[in-house]
Symmetry: C2
């Protein structure tokens, strides 16, 4: 049996290209006592993959030759533990590979859902990141105005829909008219500003007549700088990502920082979804309720084939996805 996997052959300093990756045939892994052998079905593709290539963060640095880490939905093929049975569908910290082993206590058994894709979108890291960031960090109050960047992306789309469900005015920022139309027409945002068009500041100001109380920031850079200028006193900036800064060697800081944080008494706070794991059951209950009521719509953007994972990540960094991006490595269980 072959076990194809994709390694990071060299670390990028500027723009990420397919040349930084290499497809190779690895050995078929053997599960130890207490381990399970997993077959990868779906892998989550995230801007964070690129951030991890910049050095150690909340996880260890990726070194040349390492396979790319990911979170994946897998089928249990062999189990040396009573915790998990052959045929179970589990979520696991994995890598870009067809087969892997993991300690059984480190995989999460997944609930039955109509479509496995949902496990990596609304009921996965994207939905949980949106929920914990907006609710836990942003602390929204009905009637406030929320701005969210990368609005047609997976996290951004859920943030806006949760915001609407909680009674906020929701204004998105996205690249291009199609994505803006998707946010307003399909996801129900009150407005969505195209940052590629001219006059973004004016357009955003017009869309936020009462100012901005919460900015859910996925991008950093000039869009953060522009939105900060419209924040209300005691506003909150949920710092979820800085996608605009990942592919540059000369990052630019928002010139109004920290000045506006002082004069407007803003709170800027970073978080990762793992910080809020204790609140996951509450978050999942709320998300299920909103999916059932139709207040949250899910959309996945599935790229077929392990070999296309680099292309899927590079495309994501250029903003070519609408909805949660996944790579399908193998078929659903029969």
């Amino acid at each position: 049996m072959s076990n194809r996997q994709i390694v990071v052959e060299t670390l990028p300093t500027g723009e990420l290209t397919e040349g930084h990756f290499k497809l190779k045939n690895a050995a078929m892994p053997e599960p130890d006592d207490g381990d399970v052998l997993l077959r990868t079905i779906l892998m989550s593709i995230d801007a964070a993959n690129r951030a991890w290539m910049q050095g150690a963060t909340y996880r260890a640095a990726i070194n040349p030759g390492d396979p790319m880490p990911t979170y994946a939905i897998c089928e249990v093929m062999q189990s040396n533990s009573p915790r998990v049975a052959v045929g179970d569908i589990v979520g696991a910290e994995a890598v870009w590979t067809e087969y892997l082993t993991a300690p059984a206590h480190k995989v999460q058994k997944m609930p039955k859902v109509p479509r496995l894709e949902n496990l990596l979108s609304v009921f996965g890291i994207a939905g949980l990141t949106a929920f914990h960031g907006l609710v836990g960090v942003g602390q929204p109050i009905t009637g406030e105005t929320l701005v969210v960047s990368a609005a047609a992306g997976s996290v951004g789309g859920f943030v806006g829909q949760i915001g609407k469900a909680l009674g906020l005015r929701v204004v998105g920022i996205a690249g291009g008219p199609e994505k803006c139309a998707y946010a307003t027409e399909e996801l129900g945002f009150d407005a969505c500003i195209d940052y590629r068009a001219s006059g973004m500041f004016k357009a955003l100001k017009a869309a936020c007549p009462d100012g901005v109380d919460i900015y859910f920031d996925n991008v950093g850079g000039p869009i953060l700088e522009t939105t900060l200028a419209l924040m209300n006193e005691r506003g909150r900036v949920v710092c979820c990502g800085a996608i605009s800064q990942y592919e540059t060697d000369t990052p630019t800081g928002p010139r109004n920082l920290p000045g506006l944080v002082v004069t407007k008494r803003l709170r800027m706070e970073g978080f990762i979804v793992l910080d809020y794991v204790a609140d996951n059951p509450k978050a999942l209950r709320a998300l299920q309720q909103w999916v059932q009521s139709g207040q949250i719509k899910t959309r996945e953007d599935v790229v077929e084939g392990l070999e296309n994972a680099p292309k899927a990540l590079i495309g994501l960094l250029h903003g070519d996805n609408t909805g949660k991006r996944l790579v399908r490595v193998g078929g659903d269980p029969a």
Copy 2:
């Protein structure tokens, strides 16, 4: 009777000079019903005076021709209200002037203290700003490491001394060897880094072997950028001021923002002392206890004469004060 006052004749765009101010003789104000007539004794000189000249913030913009706002300790000369008596010493939102009127309900009666100067330092805005910023925003835990910039300034000096009283490791940042010696030898900081010397990052890193848990930022700019790089996960940045950014038309943002806020899950939070007014009695009780025990030493840097207020502010912006800067406008009551 004359009533000298100093107005902002033109708004600065770059460096503030004495030419931006004008001394003039204003009319002697007449207190209305419910008002008091006040004689200014001591005025607080703060970097915030310069920030207010950049446009509207938490207070209205200063316009050309306006006298400079300040907080002052005053003697009540005439009272048209039963709340306040002639001869009382009060604190008031004032301007750079010898005499002013104010609604009696807007002035604060001051407690008896050995030296009126203390009312504008440890028991005034500086001491309260240090307390509320460090305790309320920074949420310190004994054993953590605190870094504070403008360490020999008034707020910075109190922040560090409160930090020591609470059991923190305290590292200051200040300009020049004299100020650093003042922080360590007189105020009891564990270390103080001279930002004008070369190798600041290395020196700060060596002084913080366990990383930085709280950064009390009075300066913004490159010192913020450097300190952010040394923050621990879940660290807190207390955004109190951005003195490095007030005198430039081309402010620079820290290039590692918001990236490090995301990956380290930092919280950056601005505040002004007025937000915490409900906690002032608790703060003053703690400050009094520390002054009595000798854990907080106070030092005021008093410039004599209303006419020298512009010079006092300009000097402060260039860092030539040690301890809380005040201007004495009139003598203590007999």
